[in-house]
Subunit: 150 residues, 2 copies
């Protein structure tokens, strides 16, 4: 009886901890999905209404060319629509750690050009995007290795 | 007796899965530590001998300015030593997901200059660094927000 009770208690504790770990893993995957969908709706579809649903009560911007908040995103998407309507961004890999999702992106503003390598970092709170950092580098014509930037 | 046996079996299974999850989390932290140490020895200390110990049997390079393999790193550190001996890089945040570690870095080649924002991605195999991607952007003088690039 004692052995049974102890085993049940251990099983319950272990399953609780296991469930917490699984929930963490699920949250990371859910965060990745949110960012990938947001990215497509914003940068590829250039659909501010659809993209803005993914933003939280704040959208703190670290890209030096964009203003804070949804208004900054709206202005950027308007710029893309007007100047680079055929621009496309392809997410090459996506990572998640804690509240952060990182995407490695090949962004081409005009079809047929080499485009830019970009890595974006998004912070999420309660399933919403609240902060953004990025780094952008034009892909050079020649390289010291044959591996490409991705 | 049956209840006891089932409970023990469930406890054993749950604990095994839990241990696997804990091992994964430990591996992510270990990978972060490896990359942070490598980064300091390579980019700040410019000590190729010390840094090369962190590399695996291959070091596939995606930075367009660097050649593959340890020789590419050696040449880059020699360039830093000669041209920018006072260069410093500060890791602002570090992430890990699976075999990958991502660092967000403020790199200043000459003290007093604004420097570059860099995001590096490293792939690890068996605790060794085997592949590297990065994106680099000069920090501009003026920005459309007050948050800085970090």
């Amino acid at each position: 009886m004692l052995r049974s009770t102890v085993a049940i208690a251990v099983a319950a504790l272990a399953l609780t901890a296991l469930a917490a770990g699984a929930a963490d893993a699920q949250q990371l995957e859910a965060n990745k999905k949110i960012v990938v969908e947001f990215y497509d709706k914003a940068i590829n579809q250039k659909d501010f209404e659809a993209a803005s649903k993914y933003l939280g009560s704040r959208y703190t911007q670290h890209n030096p060319n964009a203003a804070d908040g949804p208004e900054g995103l709206k202005a950027f998407l308007q710029f893309l629509k007007e100047k680079f309507p055929a621009s496309r961004s392809e997410i090459k890999r996506v990572f998640a750690d804690g509240d952060y999702v990182i995407v490695h992106v090949h962004a081409v503003r005009e079809p047929g050009t080499r485009g830019n390598a970009i890595i974006d970092v998004f912070k999420l709170e309660n399933g919403k995007i609240v902060e953004h950092w990025d780094v952008l580098q034009p892909i050079p014509e020649k390289a010291a290795n044959i591996n490409g930037m991705f």
